[in-house]
Amino acid sequence: MADTENTYEVAVIGAGPAGLAAASEAAAGGAHTVLIDAAGQFGGQYWRHADEQSSSEDPAVWHHGWKTYTGLASAVDDAISAGKLQYLPASHVIAAEAGSPFSLSIAPVPESQPEHQGLTQIRAHTVVLCPGAYDRQLPVPGWTLPGVMAAGGIQAFIKTQGISPGQRVVLGGTGPFLLSAAASVLQAGAEVAAICESSDLTGWVPRGVSAALVPSKGKEGAEYIALLARHRVPYFRRRAVVAIHGDQRATAVSTARLNRDGKALPGTERIIEDVDLVGLGWGFVPQSELVVQLGAQMFRDADGSLVAEVDKDQQSSVPGLYLAGEITGVAGATAAVAEGRIAGRQVAGLRGGGRPPRSSADIKDRVLRRNHRLFAQAMHRAHPLPQQWPEWLTDETVICRCEEVPWQKTKEAIDSLSAEEPRGLKGATRIGMGWCQGRMCGQAADCLASSDSADVAQAVARRGPAIPVSLRALAGESGRESS
C-alpha cells in the first residue's frame, strides 16, 4: 500500500449535515480531503432519502431544509469531479487511532461491496468526525412487539419509502421530534391516533429567550402544530405510553398521566385500541464509539448524553481531531451544518500554518451555532426523561432485547450483586452484550444503574470495533481469491 496514496490532509467521517458541510468547506479551502460514509449516498440519518438512482420522486417533499442539502451535496459533488475530494461511500470506519497522522481502519459495508472484504488503512493529518446520532429508547411493557418502532425509525422509513409503516399510529416519548415524526406520518397519508409528550412543557417558559433566538425553530414548530390541528391529532402533555398490548404484534397501547417524577398516576390510564404502529422517541444518542476510542475529553450534556468537549473552532481535546454535529451535543441539523462549516474552514485554513481569517460567512455560522446550542439546552431542560419510568415496568418486561434480560433479573442484580453501575450490571446480567452492544438498551441501563459520571458512561461506550466486522476483514485478507 503506497503511503502517499492513502494519506490525506483531512478525513471527514460521516456524510450527514455536519459531514457534508465540513467536507465541502475543507475541499473549497484547498485541503486534500477524503469523505468516508457508511451509506451509499449522501444525507446521513437526517437527510435520508430514496435511492437516487432508482427513485423518480423528489425527496424535497419529505424534508426540512432540503435546499441546504442540495446546496451542500452539489458542492461536494463538484469537489469530487474537480479531483479535490475523494469520496468513499459504503465504508465503515471501524477503528481510529490518534497521532500524526491519524490512522483509520475502514471496512466495506458487506451488502454494498460484496466483492471487497478486507480492511483499508487510511492516514490523515486532521480528522473531522461527524458521526451523528440514533434514537434513544426506554423499555416499556410490550416494546419488543412487532409494530413498535423508534420514532426516528418511522420517519426514516417514510423518507426512504414514501409510505408509512403503519396506518394508525401512536407516538410517545418526549421532545419536539415527536411532532416532526407525526408530521411525516400524516404527510404519508396515515392517521396519528395520539401523541403522548411526557413533559408538561412548562420547562420552556423560563427559557423563552433562548427559544426566541432561533425563529426558524419556532416557525417549524408552528407549522407542525397547524398540521396537527388540521388533522385533529390528539396531543397530550405529561402523559406517556406506559404499556403496549398485542399477541402477535402491537394492537393497542395504555397511556397514563404522569406525576412530576414520571410515575403513572392511578386512575388516569386510558387504552387506545386499533393501533398498528407505535413510535417511541426519547431523544437521541450521539454515536460515540470513535470519539471514545480516540480519547477525546467527554462530559454529560443536559439531556444526559455522553458528548465531547470542543473549543470554539470545533477542535476536541485531541489535537487535530475536530468534531461537528450531535456528538458535541444534540442540537439538530442547522447547528450541525454550522459546526461542520466552521470545522471545515478551520482545518483547511490551518494548512498554511497561520490562523485562518474570519470571513463574514464564518461569523454568521458562529452566531447560528451559539443560538442553536442555547435553544438545544433549553429544549433538553424542558424535555427531561421521566425519572420514575422504571415504575411502568413489569417483572417480565425485557430490558435488553438481544440477550433477553427481563426487569426481574435486572432488579435482582442491582439489589444483591453490587451491580449498581452500568458495567457491573452488564457483567451480572448480560445487558448490552448482544448484537446491539448496548446501543438499544444503553439508556435504560444508564438510568437503572444510576451514575452521573461521564467516566462510567465512557467505559461503557468503549466498544470496538465501531460496527460488527468479519474475522476475514480483521485478518486483513482480501477475500478475492475466487476471482
Binding site: 442484580a413 458495567r423 457491573g424 451480572a428
Partner: protein
Amino acid sequence: MQSSPSDVLIIGSGAVGAAVAFFCAKAGLSVRVVDKGRPGGGTSSRCEGNLLVSDKEHGPELDLANYSLGLWRGELAEFAHLWEFENKGGIIVASQESSMASLQRALQVQRQHGIEVEEIDVPGLKELEPNVTDQAVGAAFYPDDCQVMPMLLTAHLLRMAREAGAELLFDTEVTGMVRTGDQIQGVRTSQGTYYAQTVINAAGPWGAEVAELAGVNVPVGPRRGYVLVTEPLPPMVFRKVYAAEYIDNVGSSEEGLQASPVVEGTQAGSILIGSSRERVGFDHTLNPEALQMIARNAIALFPFLQETRILRHYFGFRPYSPDHVPVIGPDPRVPGLWHACGHEGAGIGLSVGTGKLIAQALTGEQTDIELGPFSPARFDTAAVPEGQEVP
C-alpha cells in the same frame, strides 16, 4: 466516626479478592473489602473465565489448579449454576507433525503429574469438533478443563461474603499503609482509614503498586491480552480449543506481542477468541496487529470463522508474575501484610484455591497444600520504583 477494626482487610474485589473474602468470612473472620473501582472491574471483567489444567506445567501452579478443581467440583458444586460452571473439556490441536511431536512430549510429562489427558487422532478430533480445520494432524483432549462466567462468579462470591458478614467498600482507593514500626495496622484510603489485623493484597495487576505502599517489592505487573467476541451463533465450537503453540506462550516471559488461537463457545451463543500477550504496561491504545494475529490464527483453527462477525473486542491486563507462580501468603518482610496476586491468566480458576488456603492459614489451620512455594519471600527486599522492570 471511626469504623471498627476487622480481622482481615482485602484490597481488591476481583475474583481472587472475592474468593478470599468468601472463605475468610465463612471461616468466621471479620472481613472488609476495599476496591478503588467497582467489583470485578479490573481483570475479572475482561477475561474468559477459564479453569484450565491443560496449559499447566508441573509445579506449584499445577498443584493449586488441581486443588482448586476439587473445590469447584466439591465444596462449591452447589453454586455452580450461579456462575455458569461448565465442565466442557479442552482440546489442543496440532496442525503440523513437529507441533504434534512436542505436544506428545508435553502430554507425557503432564500425565506423570496426574493431569487427565488422552491423545486423539483426526477422526476422534472431528467427532468432538466437526468444524475444526482439516489441517489438523492430531490432538489431545483434557476432560478436566472447565469454564465459568467470571463476572457472575465475582458478584456471587462477594454477595455470599457479604451475607456472611463481610463489608464491601467500592470506589475506595488505598493510598497508604498505617503502620507501627514494621507492623502493618491498616490502610489509608480515599474514604478514610481502616484498621485490620491482616491486610491482604489482592490487587491483581496493580499488586506491585500496593506492595510498594508497604515498601516491598512484589514484581507483579500487567500483561495485556485481547479477546474477540463473535455474533451469537448456533453451537459450532463445543469445547475450549486451542493450538499447540499456546502452551509455549503461556510459559514464556517474552515482552513483545505473542498470539496463539484459543477458541471457545459460550452458553450465550457467542464464541470467544483469544489470545494475545504483550507487556506494554497499562496501555489502553488499540493494537491492530494483535487483533489481526488473533483473527488469522482463529481462522486457521476454525476456517468457518472467516465469515463470522466480531461484535466486540476488549482487552484485559493479566497480573503477570515473572516466574509464572502466583504470590500467596504472608510477607515475611512486613508483618501484617499478605498477598494474593500474580495469577496471570489463571486467576479465575485459581481464585477459590487461593481463597481457601489463605482462610486456613489465617485461622491457624494446616493448609491443604503448602504455601511455601508461593511465598513472596522469593523476591528481593528492596521496593522497586514504579515503572521499572524486574529481571
